[in-house]
């Protein structure tokens, strides 16, 4: 319990994964961990009294074997106690060793999606804020200028936190779709299939397509 609650306190949802990992490991293993819990709880009270026996009482064989059993149990307790101490230190060291690697993986999974979304923000708001004479030079038709303004207004309403949420939802939807392999319906509804963020991207792309003067195709240097 100590190991587990330590995790829940410190590490939230990750703890659940870890918890299930522990439960999944062999039954011998989890038995021992259960033992560990008990030992840890009453270790301080019982340790000094139980650990070493006085040898001056005379004993018959039954007592002897009883004593041997106690000794066994004691060894086991000590084993578990030290095992737990080691486990904790190892856990922290292991985490530290793997955090950066995990961070890099997560970072690379999301940075380009964020980048593309950020471009929608940047292009639409910088366009919307240009003086109208300049806007008309860059974007020929009134209709396209309107579309840019609309795009800007809807994008501006989405805060950074909200877009991160939308990103998570898109990710989840994608992984779900991969599992069920459902056929994708055409773009009848904005938020139906493509994902909200991607949808804005598509809108921007089509606007840029109509406004060749605006620098839209920008390379990313990996």
């Amino acid at each position: 319990m100590k190991i587990i609650s330590f995790h829940i306190q410190k590490h939230g949802s990750i703890a659940n994964d870890l918890y299930s990992n522990i439960l999944e490991s062999s039954s011998v293993d989890s038995d021992r961990r259960m033992n560990t819990v008990q030992v840890n709880d009453n270790f301080h009270e019982s340790d000094a009294d139980d650990l070493w026996y006085d040898d001056d009482s005379c004993e018959d064989s039954v007592e002897k074997s009883g004593k041997a059993l106690d000794m066994d149990r004691e060894w086991r307790r000590r084993h578990d106690q030290f095992h737990t101490l080691g486990y904790r230190d190892g856990l922290i060291a292991g985490k530290e060793a793997a955090l950066q690697e995990g961070f890099n993986i997560g970072f690379k999974d999301s940075v380009l999606t964020g980048y593309n979304w950020g471009r929608v923000r940047g292009i639409s708001s910088a366009m919307a804020s240009l003086p109208s004479a300049l806007k008309e030079k860059l974007v020929e038709t009134e209709e396209t200028r309107k579309r840019i303004q609309q795009l800007h207004e809807s994008v501006q309403c989405i805060s950074s936190t909200e877009s991160l949420k939308l990103f998570y939802e898109d990710q989840r939807r994608k992984s779900l779709k991969q599992e069920t392999a459902e056929p994708s319906s055409s773009e009848t509804n904005q938020s139906s299939d493509a994902g909200v963020l991607e949808n804005y991207q598509v809108q921007l792309q089509s606007i840029l397509h109509e406004s060749p003067l605006v620098e839209g195709h920008l390379k990313i240097t990996p």
Binding site: H11, I14, A15, L18, N21, W75, R78, H79, Q81, F82, H83, T84, L85, G86, Y87, R88, D89, G90, L91, A93, G94, K95, A97, A98, L99, Q100, E101, G102, N104, G106, F107, K108, D109, S110, V111, T113, G114, Y115, N116, G118, R119, V120, G122, I123, A126, S129, L130, L138, Q156, S159, S160, T161, S163, L164, L213, E215, G216, L218, T221, P222
Partner: protein, 137 residues
């Protein structure tokens, strides 16, 4: 009688045994934790970079359409932002040059928007602590 000694050895081996198990579990959970943090940081970093990229792209187009749109000094700053963005190692979060580049981008972006009298930042923009509720431009 070396019960004490053997007990010490045992303790040490139990410690080590526990350590190894903990280490293995820690590798798994640490990686997952890091991945969650990375996913968030990556998205936010990408968003900010893309935002600058978009602005710089539009401004550069505007300058081409009307070279008098901005002062030479601001045009130069935009050019510098462009270079910073092109050289930004977007897929290397561990690259040490990256945070300097980000600082420079933020600073230049501020200079440009101030001189154009624009308020372009989005809600949640990293350095807009003073005007978090302020939208518009």
């Amino acid at each position: 009688m070396d019960i004490f000694e053997s007990s010490l050895n045992l303790e040490e081996s139990h410690l080590r045994e526990g350590y190894d198990e903990g280490y293995a579990d820690g590798l798994i959970s640490g990686k997952e934790e890091g991945q969650q943090v990375g996913l968030k940081t990556g998205f936010e970093t990408g968003e900010e970079l893309g935002f600058y990229r978009g602005c710089v792209g539009v401004w550069s187009s505007a300058i081409r359409a009307d070279p008098n749109f901005m002062s030479a000094r601001i045009q130069k700053t935009i050019k510098q932002m462009d270079e910073l963005l092109q050289n930004y190692a977007i897929l290397e979060p561990e690259n040490e040059a990256v945070s300097d580049a980000m600082d420079a981008l933020r600073l230049k972006f501020k200079v440009i928007s101030a001189s154009l009298n624009l308020k372009l930042e989005y809600k949640g923009y990293p350095k807009s602590s003073d005007a978090a509720g302020d939208i518009g431009f």
